[in-house]
């Protein structure tokens, strides 16, 4: 975890991880210490939806770089997407075995 966070700080993704962790702790009503950083992957999306478009919204049509942040809590893995500046988007829960 520490090693990954060091890497995050160097790549500027620390803010995304911090915000995603706080959001997940709030959703699950658990202490942030129970959440483990699984991975941070730099990604580019075709628009401001970060790959999670809602059908009845419109988005800025600009290539958007950011991170896919995977956090785990117990057996579940949770995905967040962030452009590194604003609050990460919660993209769903994956079962660790799934």
């Amino acid at each position: 975890m520490t090693g990954i966070l060091d890497a995050c700080n160097k790549t500027g993704s620390a803010r995304a991880v911090r915000l995603a962790t706080a959001d997940l702790a709030r959703r699950l009503k658990v202490n942030k210490r129970e959440i483990v950083l699984h991975s941070v992957v730099p990604t580019a999306w075709p628009d401001a939806s970060l790959g999670c478009p809602e059908p009845e919204r419109v988005y800025a049509q600009v290539l958007t770089t950011g991170y896919v942040v995977l956090l785990s809590c117990g057996q579940d893995v949770f995905e967040y997407r962030s452009d590194g500046r604003r609050k990460p988007v919660f993209a769903g829960c994956r079962n660790r075995e799934g």
Binding site: P46, A48, P55, R57, V58, Q61, V62, L63
Partner: protein
Amino acid sequence: MTKQVRIVAVCLVFVLLLALAGTAGMAPQVEVNSQSGFAPGQILVQFRPGTAASDVALVHSHNRGQVLQVLERIGVQVVRVPKGEELRAVARYRSNPNVAFAEVDGIVSALSFTPNDPMLPDQWGLARVEAPLAWGVTQGSSTIRIAVLDTGIDAGHGDISPKVVAARNFTTSSTVSDRNGHGTHVAGIAAAVTNNARGVAGLGFNSVLMNGKVLGDDGSGTWSWVANGIIWAADNGAQVINMSLGGTSHSATIENAVNYAWGRGSVLVAAAGNSNSSSLTYPAAYANVIAVGATDRNDARASFSNFGAWVDVAAPGVDILSTFPRSGRNDRYRWMSGTSMSAPFVAGLAGLVWTTGWGTSNTAVRDRIQATVDPIVTDQPIGGRINAARAVGAK
């Protein structure tokens, strides 16, 4: 020879000398710019009023000239002369007292205008659409309003101020300014302050901006925000409405707003989308919107650009340098890619075309832009790439 005869002879010589001196004084030097050149084998001649037709014919006969055309309203003749003899023919015609003037048939070409914005060399898209040549014909006008419906505009940016003449926030954001960056970037492409020895140039040059904030600070928005923005822009005199936004679902509300603005005379422009597919993006896909795809430096389709027969034109959209919201008091600039960046090239061009003879209606402006594109060979259809110089009649 009697004294009287001598006096008459001296007077005649004096009069003749005066006439020659006068003719020489009236006849300017043949001035030809070797860079610009002239039409081979023809010159332009005007005879003095009252010159008899027989005298005109005599002059042409002596100079091996043949009248090709007469510009009746100004009395100028286009005269065929032997090729390579144009300059000598002009000099000979000028020496005849019945000739008011004679000149070569110069080839006219528009002068380009290169603004002094220091980042211009990095703005490859402006060079690609031949913007400097277009600016030699028109630099637009502050009477032309380009509405940028987006994430807001940093109106205090040194390369944007004082261009924003109207602003309205249709979102739930607490500010009409730009906390995202996208809207300020788009605004700069369309109409950054140009020739101000600062930052970047905007294709629309002297066009001004309307800031309609229809996307929240996260870069997304609802159909009602967009529709409200379109109606506001049309009702407040926007000749051009840029929408660097899109979604995959049709909205009758947005389509109605588009048709309303079109009916009010606005030219509407929108991004074709970045999913590298032929799927429709709205509002770009509506009939009354110019759908814009993206090209790269080599006039290839940008790898991400949507495509298909529904895409009307293409414009540069890869690594586009433009304005970005300030950090503190420091102006910032960023490179961005997307059909979001392509659309404001078309919007800026529409602003220029509105100030030309083709700017008689939104239909005429749109037709002119689409009729003057440069054909490009792409892997998938995205229309021709806009050419600003051709659109404003510079070439």
